[in-house]
Amino acid sequence: MRRVAVVGVGHTKFGKRDAGWRDLVQEAGKLAFDNVDNLEPKDIESFFVGAAQPERFAFLTHVAPLAAEMLGITPRKIIARTELACASGQAAIRYAYAAIAAGLTDIAMVVGVEKMFMPDMLEAQSNMTCVLDREWDGVNGLSAPPFFAMCAQRHMYEYGTTREQMAMVRVKNQKFASKNELAQFYGKEFTVDQVVNSKPVSMPLCLLDCSGITDGGAAMILVEASLARQFTDTPIYILGTGQASIGNLINGLPGLANWDACRIAAEEAYRSARITPDDVDIAETHDCFTISEIIEYEELGFCKKGEGGKFVEEGQSDIGGKVVVNTRGGLLGMGHPLGATALSQAIELFWQFRGEVPKYRYVDGAEIGITHNLSGSASVHSIMIYGRG
């Protein structure tokens, strides 16, 4: 299996953007080409787009060639778009990784993008309801916030996690986001009290426990490792990957507070990268809601099952802790443009490993990082491991 390197990245401002789907693609793509030496659009052999629902949010489909055209790219090896709801971007990275590792292509671009703001936000909420099984769960009013609220309720019930511990996740991630100009919620810090007293959305989850509706785009250039130095002096590398899926409808899940698929995906990712959870210096996990990050600490092996609340309370996921989690600000602080999120996470690791993040969030000496996405009813967990060397 050939090694795969990331040699350049581009990341748009996330938020409510006065821009359309194709504007976000152009912005992200240009930034990526500007970020790398000796590479033009015509050199891109393969092109992978991660996008969750352009069909509904933007009334566009066949979006991989649309995005390629916007960037002057004429792929002659592989082109496709991947969808895995909230993990669509990671599915695209994994496709590029597999194709390069196999020897099917040498030079690929991955673009992740989502335009989620619509003139009628009720329409956007309908779209988010079909992220669960629309016919048997969504029909009952279940979209992500009420679903994850029930996960929180069960985690509190089964493990004694507290409301305040959940709020601490937002406080930590917002601290990072507050100084990140690319973040949707740039320039704001929140206290535990502010989170707990924010507008109830799906109790116990309040507005500040939830990631936002967000517009954004991001792009990465991946190459076969031996070519990497042609494009940058400081590539980073994909070390391993894991993914698992159990069920989809609530009845098919292992549990609301036990995300077995996350544990299985993590074990496979660690195995394939030949590391253990203790080797992870920095993690970008899918904090779509505050409770998500707490359960993820547990299933990713950073702490014991049931002790995720204590983990954040003790500062183990903050700078100086056991593993620093979500230094870009997480989905909570950055916003969550579905197709772009996994790329944004990988880009944070790229910048961290290259020392290109501001000091306030720099994890000095970090060698190994993990990115994690869940999707749907937390039925699927997708993990990639990146390394500096």
Partner: protein, 153 residues
């Protein structure tokens, strides 16, 4: 400037792509029996005759053993509340139902999601007894049926 005016519709029929309720007739689903039974007040599902697996949602192929020799069985009209939430996140067409109580009910070991009727948030607790309720869904063109649960009286 003078322009020719092109009119596009301001209102349209609720399109299928924004209609949450499943299409229920034989023409559109191979589990139409579920909806016919529901109209009779019965919550039913399929069970595999080959391996005994009880399914939720109803299937045409057993996911456990790939048999298609399934039978329809009626579920109890009662269950226990496994989780619940009051949600103000409301998609297009459910605006009138705000705030909405949503939960998961354990019926014979199946975890069935549902809207919760005839209750307030403070009435609910994990483990409480719930009972089935069948509702008629009307959109001005067709009648469909769906299930909900409410606290057992």
């Amino acid at each position: 400037m003078e322009y020719r005016t092109v009119k596009i519709p301001d209102k349209i029929n609720l399109p299928t792509m924004l209609d949450f309720y499943p299409l229920q007739t034989e023409k559109w689903t191979r589990v139409s029996r579920f909806f016919e039974n529901l109209k009779e007040g019965k919550l039913t599902t399929t069970q595999c005759k080959a391996c005994g697996k009880l399914h939720w949602q109803p299937r045409i192929v057993c996911p456990e053993c790939m048999s298609d020799d399934l039978e329809w069985v009626e579920l109890p009209k009662e269950g226990k509340l496994h989780a619940f939430v009051e949600s103000i996140v409301v998609p297009l067409g459910m605006e009138q139902e705000m705030p909405m109580l949503v939960g998961v009910v354990d019926v014979s070991g199946l975890l069935i999601s549902t809207k919760i009727d005839d209750a307030k948030l403070e009435d609910l607790e994990i483990g409480m007894d719930m009972e089935l309720k069948v509702v008629r869904v009307e959109d001005g063109k067709q009648e469909r049926y769906w299930y909900r649960f409410r606290p057992k009286k």
